[in-house]
Symmetry: C3
Subunit: 275 residues, 3 copies
Amino acid sequence: VVTLLTDFGWQDPYVAEVKGVLLQTFERLGGGEPWPRVVDLCHTLPPCDVRAAAWFLARVHPNFPPGTVHLAVVDPGVGTSRPVVAVQAARCHFVGPGNGLFRFLVGTADLTVVRLNAATSWRGEGFPPAPTFHGRDVMAPVAARLALGCPIRELGAPGTAADLGSLEAWPAAVESEAVGSSRPIGRIVWIDRFGNAITDIDRASGLGDRLSAGAVLRLAGTEVPGPVLTFAEATGSEPFWYWGSGGKLEVAVDRDSVARRFGWRVGLAVGWTAP
Amino acid sequence: VVTLLTDFGWQDPYVAEVKGVLLQTFERLGGGEPWPRVVDLCHTLPPCDVRAAAWFLARVHPNFPPGTVHLAVVDPGVGTSRPVVAVQAARCHFVGPGNGLFRFLVGTADLTVVRLNAATSWRGEGFPPAPTFHGRDVMAPVAARLALGCPIRELGAPGTAADLGSLEAWPAAVESEAVGSSRPIGRIVWIDRFGNAITDIDRASGLGDRLSAGAVLRLAGTEVPGPVLTFAEATGSEPFWYWGSGGKLEVAVDRDSVARRFGWRVGLAVGWTAP
Amino acid sequence: VVTLLTDFGWQDPYVAEVKGVLLQTFERLGGGEPWPRVVDLCHTLPPCDVRAAAWFLARVHPNFPPGTVHLAVVDPGVGTSRPVVAVQAARCHFVGPGNGLFRFLVGTADLTVVRLNAATSWRGEGFPPAPTFHGRDVMAPVAARLALGCPIRELGAPGTAADLGSLEAWPAAVESEAVGSSRPIGRIVWIDRFGNAITDIDRASGLGDRLSAGAVLRLAGTEVPGPVLTFAEATGSEPFWYWGSGGKLEVAVDRDSVARRFGWRVGLAVGWTAP
């Protein structure tokens, strides 16, 4: 399996070209075996938002079978000195830019990082990489080779965790503005199609115990009761919190967008106040 | 073949997670056979609109080959007492919530309904179903098992047509408002990307004969002549009606959105007046 | 491989129905072989914009492996006298309307054109083609047959390049308005998700030499310096030009939409002025 995660959108030729190169590589090197499957994860990530890409992939990848190759291309620094990497971790492979997108893999047992500086594993003769499209010309051929069983160490030079790069820190202003006098414990990291706000507060964080003991969850001055188990438990049109399907604290209102109702955005800090 | 029909949208992790679980299940239980194919039907259904999902699936499923498994997740009542079901009908399988989505299958010969209350057919140990995401944790593993050939009766407890649930009736206000003095015969059930209005009036309804005999089709006060066979027959920029590719009466204008031009929406009643 | 390129959008049943018919045809005629793969190129082409479809396919198809069947349906004249064609060219097949979409293939060595007027290669008994949906009822079954290895000449009557039709010329007004006193050499043919403007000026056009010798690229009165190799080379928030990943001249600003900033659209002429 090769999965695709990009900020290319669906309306342009870029996703189609990446898929074409994957299939061309399967055809050239696959030797009559059934070709690996190609699965779209998402192509409408916010443009150039590496943090969003990292969040998405960290959440989704554990659902895929061992051996999956995740090709992730959110690469505003394409063509600069940032490395392009292949990573082996968690029984899967990851291919993309070393701009922090794969930072979340650091700490995984048996992490292997390879810098993709070997033109022999790229698209091939007659196809020098376009300086603005390494996703198609460098990363896709490598992802295809990994999916066909090529050992990762043959695809480039040994690298280290430093080659994975780092994500920018969240801007501080948003945090202080939003939390007010409450104690910050996390922030909103995703707003989904239904307008539900997903935070980075983990179920294992102990916040649940505090809130059971009378503490109150707060976002930008609004008190949010909870937890509920299902949306049907919510009464009226008040916001509530619950442990979401990704194991993190989420905030919603039933059949409406909590984000639009309160003007909440990604980056907003979440806090709590003692009873 | 497993098809996917949801209101998850393309921008969130939910579709990707469902696909991952399907592939994980194929990998665990597939035994080296080629994996079933996964096909996206639509993920941008109007959020929580079970009626839209039912309309879409009823129209599309006959185009798929025998043995297809249709996994449909529009499930605003997730985690409540509504059942989760697997259905065998029309030489295919259907998996989803018992909230009316599959009501259209009632009347099909050899209908089999199974309630998916057996944890053994769910995602497996270590993955208790998230109360807000049965599509991933309950329905996807079952759909994968059906696609791998598992008999439907082994996946849960025998159910009945009542377990399929019912759709809400259309709100009456829209109907009386729209039809005026004409005789209501149906309503708009879908507006497509081109702005064409698809109704639920079937070609076999006899309306065609009435309209040939001089009756006039009316929507919200507007007379709509017809039928035309192709859009190229339309003259000028007037609306017209025709028998659409799904066998139902549709209304359009050439190279414009009839829905936007007249402010028509899903639910609007369609009537006719005698000559 | 069968690729799909349409203006159907993702929200309607049309793409799903085409996929269903492809799979139904594989199931009926495939004889137990592994089914060809179905790949979405794009479904959000501007509605009825045959020129956009032609541009997209001309750019993308060389990335796919030999033997690929490209099914392209942007067909505002569906049901009229425009032919439906299958084309063999560049070691691939193309199926769609003869409305200019495949005009770009003229000049390819060994071009074979077949008019799809033989009902025996359509969807089959019980499925007369809907006058408004030849993509599903005529083209998809033919594309499936080609992907299964059926010789193109058995699918219809011999045709000629004239059956491919022609694209409308660009409206002249846009050109004169935009270029001003500069010498027109091309125009914007695509605006991508990032707001970058892709022109039809080829790297082999010699413009690069002129611009190196001091000539200045101009769009609608704005001087655009360049070329840069990567976006990171750009200084500040000024527009710049570069040779894009499709081999054409593109104009952008770093981390912003050049199209929105300057109000540029597809069709705008690009010129240059001597130093």
